[in-house]
């Protein structure tokens, strides 16, 4: 029973990290029809921001806001520099560009910082656990779950209550008509990237807190998983992205707990097979892909 509860917490915490990343991919996809594979590098940039802040002895309270701001700016800069000039070039060009951006950033990290992992010391209280009745629950795991819930809640409020949020939802349905409302296309797209950056920044912080190190390639695997989660949920569907993230987290932790030792190396393969099976039955994803009129 205790083990089961702890595994659930692990699944929620891993799934939450995927969910935030998948949500960022989905927000950008919903307005541009493009998967940004350089999304993972935002995670890496967040990590290096923490690393350098610690090195430069930036006060602890400032590190988190600073890292999140850098993450948002990095995502916005990607849009401005790499994707905006290609506006209207079609989803394939944008997709390939995003791979290029990802590759270039990885090379820059390797050459300008270091090809090897850099340690990020994690404060002791984060690595500990607390006890609730018979259960030992990890602090980082709990924070992950809370942070995921908070971000999903904030994003929902933003999308429902603010004009810019409504414009993003409208643009996801019909971009040209949104422009007929006098809403600036550039602003909507930039906002979508900034939001995806913020979400990637939060998951980046959680990711680093678990690993305790940063390296140039660390963004690749999580963003791949987030991509799978977004497809699983229904591409471009924000609710679907969150559920898809939790679903993937649950599959991975479930397999980790259930599979016998000799089969463990095949865990990812089995997890992906399960995803393929789900998609065979629901090719549009769990919640249905969103089709819309794009810029």
């Amino acid at each position: 029973m205790e083990i089961f509860v702890q595994q659930c917490v692990n699944a929620l915490s891993l799934g939450g990290t995927y969910a935030l990343l998948a949500l960022g991919l989905a927000v950008v996809f919903s307005v541009l029809g493009m998967i940004n594979f350089a999304h993972g590098e935002i995670l890496t940039i967040t990590g290096y921001t923490v690393f350098f802040s610690l090195m430069l002895a930036v006060p602890a309270v400032l590190i988190i806001p600073l890292a999140l701001i850098v993450a948002m700016l990095a995502a916005a800069a990607m849009e401005r520099v790499a994707f905006r000039p290609l506006r209207g070039a079609g989803p394939t060009s944008l997709l390939i560009t995003s791979f290029a951006v990802s590759g270039i950033l990885q090379v820059l990290f390797q050459n300008l910082i270091s090809a090897r992992p850099r340690p990020v010391p994690i404060p002791d209280f984060l690595t500990g656990a607390f006890t609730v009745g018979p259960f030992h629950i990890g602090v980082i795991q709990s924070l992950s779950i809370l942070a995921t819930l908070a971000m999903v809640g904030l994003l929902t409020l933003f999308l429902k209550r603010t004009l810019l949020g409504m414009a993003i939802r409208a643009a996801a349905v019909d971009f040209p008509t949104t422009r007929l409302m006098g809403i600036r296309a550039n602003r909507v797209i930039l906002a979508a990237f900034a939001i995806s950056g913020l979400l990637a920044g939060v998951s980046g912080l959680l990711w680093i807190a678990q690993r305790g190190s940063v390296d140039p390639l660390m963004g690749f695997l999580p963003v791949l998983k987030a991509f799978i989660a977004a497809i699983l949920g229904g591409i471009g569907n924000l609710t679907g992205a969150v559920i898809g993230g939790f679903f993937l987290g649950a599959i991975e932790i479930g397999l980790q707990a259930a599979l016998p030792e000799p089969v463990q190396p095949f865990r990812d393969a089995i997890a992906l097979t399960l995803v393929v099976v789900v998609l065979l039955y629901r090719p549009q994803g769990l919640f249905g892909a969103v089709h819309s009129v794009r810029p």
Binding site: L163, M166, A167, R169, A170, V173, D174, P176, T177, T178, R179, L180, M181, G182, I183, R184, A185, V293
Partner: protein, 237 residues
């Protein structure tokens, strides 16, 4: 100086020349209609006028400014907007959200509450549907929402693309009534229609487009009497 002047407009979709030579003017306070068969290039012209499609040739002047090549959001902020063909409401958003987005350009001016009241008066049905998802409205209600959403930007010139398309006769009546009331509110209207009779009844002047070119123009009376228009559109009616 006319409110809208379109001069020698040409628009292509890749190799397809959809609009070859469209010139028209709209004076402030007028209702001007553009008639033409399916595929004549009416919607393409409107989209190029509002900046959604690039003009390959020709100029568009609105209110004395050359707006050729400007973005639609810029042109809408100048006071011209388009209610597109097929309504294009934001289906997963509520009626209220659709209208709030429509008023995006007015938020800074702080007169959205007043605009809102005006719309509820013009479109009472929308008031009772306020919290409903726009996609659940009937066709006629969606068309009213689409027009109300356009009006939220306080246009001086409204481009209407086939507002009566696919609506029951009684609803068509209501939409044409409404267009008349908009004129009374001081909004100038460029109306694209296939409902030729009703369009010429309400309009001051009209243009007939065929194969992407303006082939005929004149006062509504003259067009009604024209043998060409009779033959092509009004038939035995």
């Amino acid at each position: 100086m006319s409110l809208l002047e379109v001069d020698g407009l040409a628009v292509s979709y890749g190799p397809i020349k959809a609009v070859r030579d469209v010139s028209l003017v709209v004076e402030a306070g007028e209702i001007v209609t553009v008639l033409g068969a399916n595929g004549a290039g009416k919607s393409t012209s409107l989209q190029a006028i509002i900046g959604l499609l690039p003009a390959q040739q020709g100029r568009v002047r609105f209110d004395g400014h050359d707006v050729t090549g400007e973005s639609p959001e810029r042109i809408v902020r100048r006071g011209m907007t388009l209610t597109p063909e097929g309504r294009r409401i934001f289906a997963p958003l509520t009626v209220e959200e659709n209208l709030r987005i429509g008023a995006a350009t007015q938020v800074r001016r702080g007169n959205t509450a007043e605009l809102w009241d005006q719309m509820m008066e013009l479109f009472p049905i929308l008031a009772s549907r306020r919290r409903q998802l726009a996609g659940t409205l009937s066709g006629g209600e969606q068309q009213q929402l689409a027009i109300a959403r356009s009006l939220m930007s306080r246009p001086r010139l409204l481009l209407l693309d086939e507002p009566s398309l696919g609506l029951a006769p009684i609803v068509v009546e209501l939409i044409f009534d409404l267009i008349g009331r908009l004129r009374d509110l001081g909004i100038t209207i460029l109306l694209v229609e296939q409902n030729v009779h009703q369009a010429l009844d309400i309009a001051d002047r009209g243009y007939v487009v065929s194969g992407g070119t303006v082939v005929l123009e004149g006062t509504a009376e003259a067009l009604k009497a024209s043998a060409d228009v009779q033959k092509a559109y009004l038939g035995q009616a």
